[in-house]
C-alpha cells in the first residue's frame, strides 16, 4: 500500500447510503458523496470493493451489495482499559444477521410474538420469532403450533407419553391440544427498539 487506505470509511459511507436508500449510487453520485472530483476515483474504489467481495454486479451491470457488505463487527466483551473505542474498531469478528439467524431460508418464516406467555424465555410482546418449518421437534424445543385457529409459540414438553405446550410464565396454564399441530421450531428471535 503506497498511500493511506480510506476504503473502510468509504465502505461505511456506502453502507449508510444503502441503509437509507436500499440502492447503491452511480459513480458520479459516489464521487459527490465521498468528495471525489473525478468519477474515475469512484470507479476505482468500486473495483477495489468488488475485488474485496463487498460489491457485486447484476446481469445488467448494476451495483449490488454482497453478503459481506452487511457484516457488522462483534465487539469483545472485555477490553483493555482506557481504550473503549478500540473495542469497536479492532474486532475482526464480522457477522451478517441473515446468515447468522437464517440457516435454511426456504424453510424459515417469521412469527410475531403476541402477549406475555413466553416472557420468562425472553420472548416479549412485539418480538419476532424466527421459525423453521420442521416435522420433528424435541421436548424442550420452543415450537410454533396451530391452536384454536391461531399460531401459538410455546415450549414443547413431554407429559408422560404425550406432548404438551408449556408457556414460560407462571400465570399461564399448560395447553394440551389434541391433535397437536406443530408447524415448526423456533430457531431464534429478534426485536427492534423504537427510537
Amino acid at each position: 500500500m503506497a498511500r493511506p487506505n480510506y476504503d473502510n470509511e468509504y465502505l461505511a459511507a456506502l453502507q449508510d447510503y444503502y441503509a437509507r436508500h436500499r440502492s447503491l449510487p452511480s459513480y458520479s453520485a459516489i464521487s459527490a458523496l465521498l468528495g471525489f472530483k473525478a468519477k474515475t476515483a469512484a470507479a476505482a474504489l468500486v473495483a477495489r470493493l468488488e475485488e474485496a467481495g463487498y460489491i457485486q454486479r447484476t446481469p445488467d451491470r448494476r451495483l449490488t451489495p454482497t453478503d459481506r457488505f452487511f457484516q457488522r463487527p462483534r465487539s469483545l466483551a472485555t477490553v483493555r482499559a482506557g481504550m473503549p473505542e478500540a473495542a469497536l474498531d479492532e474486532s475482526s469478528d464480522m457477522v451478517s444477521l441473515d446468515t447468522l439467524l437464517v440457516r435454511t431460508p426456504s424453510k424459515t418464516f417469521f412469527v410475531p410474538i403476541k402477549g406475555d406467555s413466553m416472557m420468562d424465555a425472553g420472548l416479549l410482546e412485539g418480538d419476532t420469532a424466527i421459525c423453521e418449518r420442521s416435522q420433528h421437534a424435541n421436548a424442550g424445543d420452543i415450537v410454533v403450533a396451530f391452536v384454536g385457529n391461531e399460531l401459538t409459540i410455546k415450549r414443547l414438553m413431554k407429559e408422560g407419553s404425550r406432548y404438551v405446550l408449556k408457556p414460560e410464565n407462571k400465570g399461564y396454564p399448560v395447553l394440551r391440544p389434541d391433535p397437536l399441530e406443530i408447524l415448526g421450531v423456533v430457531t431464534g428471535s429478534f426485536r427492534s427498539y423504537k427510537r
Copy 2:
C-alpha cells in the same frame, strides 16, 4: 380500467428480481424481463407502481423499493382452520434482517449479553445486543457503557440531576459510575437457539 391489469404479476416479477439481485432493473431490463417491446411500457408501469406506493426513487433518481414493496397479502398471525400450510406460503418476507435491524451500519456494532442483569427486559445470557454508537442517550434508553474495564448493558435512568445505570433484575443494584462513559444506545437484540 379500460384494459385488464397485470400490474400484480409484474410487481411479483420485480419482487423476485429484487430478491435475487437486491436491485431494481433499468427500464430496458424491465422490458426484457416482462416481455415488453418498448421501454415506454416499462416507464409507464414504474410510474403506476410509484403511484401505488411500491417503488420510490433515490436522490439520483434510481429506483428503490418501498416498505410496501415487501409487504405480503396475508398476515401470519391468524389463519383459517385446516390450512396451516397456507399460512407459511404467504409469509416469505423478503426484507433482510440486516436492513431491518441495522439503520446506520457504520455506527452499528454487536455486544454479547453476559449474565442475567437485564433479564426482565428480555435480554438473556447469550443474546446479542445491536448497538448504535451515539453521543446522546435519553433516560429510559438501554445503553452500552464502559464500567470497570468492561462493556456493560443497562438501562439509563435519571436520579435527581445525574444519570445512573439501572439493571432490569431486582437482584442487582443500581450502578453510579463517575464519570459515566456511554458508548452507544441499544437499538435491538437477537438470539439464536442452538439445535
